[in-house]
Amino acid sequence: MSGRVLVGVKRVIDYAVKIRVKPDNTGVVTDGVKHSMNPFCEIAVEEAVKLKEKKLVKEVVAVSCGPQQSQETIRTALAMGADRGIHVEVSGNDYETLGPLQVSKIMAALAKKEDAQIIILGKQAIDDDCNQTGQMTAALLDWPQGTFASEVTLDGDKIKVVREIDGGLETIKINTPAVLTADLRLNTPRYATLPNIMKAKKKKIANVKPADLGVNLTSKLEVLRVEDPPQRQAGMKVETVEDLVGKLKESGKV
């Protein structure tokens, strides 16, 4: 039992930034735009650090896949309390096409290499909203998964997970090793303390290439076009319920 937790952290455009689509409709503008750690990844890091503080796990390793700047995201995780980081270097075209399938292959390979007990990821990233990486990683490893977690309790070699689902809350018990994905109400991430920011400087970030992990990054997806959501049209007022039903039928909505 390694007691090691792998936490995935993704560098995304900051949630407060107003997104602009590139004039050529191939994507969104990222140059010079403020980036930060995906909010759900922050929650994942917080949960892992909490487990370590309760002495239920021994080591928290923060992983990020991306270009040079992903190291900043790992540093933030280290400042929150992760012990060390792994930067999987992906840049250029590979980074443009990097998606859940590729990342889950990388996470699975790392989990085996690092002998991880638990993988905690954010439930989804706020840029692509895929909500797939956790699930795919579990499938590739043939590990159980506790997704949309709003409460995690370690119980010997099992984990009790309360999941937020459409109908309410579902409680499951899964064996370790396992993959968990963090939902909004799992915890409130801490602000890094200044002493931890100083300590983070000394913590190690290992550099790894996807090829070293035997992972092929080719994507079978091609982005055809990115465009703004349609402008909201003006509504109209009607006098009676009959008018309303009539209008709905007219426009084919009913």
């Binding site: 303390t193 200044l194 920011i197």
Partner: protein
Amino acid sequence: MSALFKARKVLAVCLHGSRSLSQLAELPETHQLLRQTCRDFADRELAPIAAMLDKEHVYPAKQIKELGTMGVMAMEVPEELGGAGMDYLAYSLAVEEISRGCASTGVVVSVNNSLYIGPILKFGTEEQKKQWISPFTAGDKVGCFALSEPGNGSDAGAASTTAHQEGEEWLLNGTKAWITNSWDASATVVFATTDKKLKHKGISAFLIPMPYPGLSLGKKEDKLGIRASSTANIILEDCRIPLNNMLGPRGAGFKIAMQTLDSGRIGIAAQALGIAQASLDCAADYAHKRTAFGAPIGKLQAIQFKLADMAVAIESARLLTWKASLLRDAKKVFTKEAAMAKLAASEAATFCSHQAIQILGGMGYVTDMPAERHYRDARITEIYEGTSEIQRLVIAGQILKEYQS
């Protein structure tokens, strides 16, 4: 001195200077991370409540406690004493970002760090540091600095508060005025005359817990700005404190106060920068959104010139503040630079907040937008911890010394 020895000294200064200069161009990674953390905290925890704190004059106890947990309330204090063990450059970055969210919170942080903990860290005994600093690092207790009196602010040498030794105690009498944090503080550094004949060399510094018999507070001042921080008189009536509550040697009070204010000026410069930056943020955002004459007003040169002037004022004051911090961190004399930073930053704050209201027009005058609060918050930065006039005297004094043949 031989020419070679002189040359080596010059080289050492140049090399050190170039390291400091590159820090002015791009901050070290830890400082960038620290700055971002404080900015996130200010955006999420302070900015949303700043208007309410100001309107209702509420001390941000919860937020100060959180800042304490982060290490921001005792940034320079070594870790063994419960602090963050960081340098003054980090401190000035933190205070700027905090003040950008809420100027009142910024002054509470600055006073605790520079004016209360500062002199104890520099002049206190090991025992005094443990007793008077360690409990004040976590944000649940803050301190204050009592120098000004109703009869003297700039004229600090004329302290009329007295301290007489009676047996194994000091007996203090007098009134201190305009004391920031007073109503929320758990201790104060007080300056009192121990030997009137020695004039300013007869002033000593003392530490008094709060509340304490013989120490009472005047009414909370109803201020124009920084309303979430409390300001009041501290009244000492036959206040008896143990002999070892004296801070530093007898008669060193004036020197302690002046040296403490040198560092405090960097903190207030940082606070003023935060207010100025918040004003620029508000104005520039408005310039994009507000349309007049068929286009966003940011297209008009009159507005553009204002924004440019604001940005230059802020950036120059910021670089002065960083330089003063770097000099202090390198244990060099920084009196002139600290005074320049405080002067430039406070004048930038009043200028930028004034222009921000101008750019916002009518919207700048109402409480719906933060511009009016920045205007009110900025004004005090030209007054406390040394008026702009005093800063000019300090700077001129240093310059004349440099040019003395």
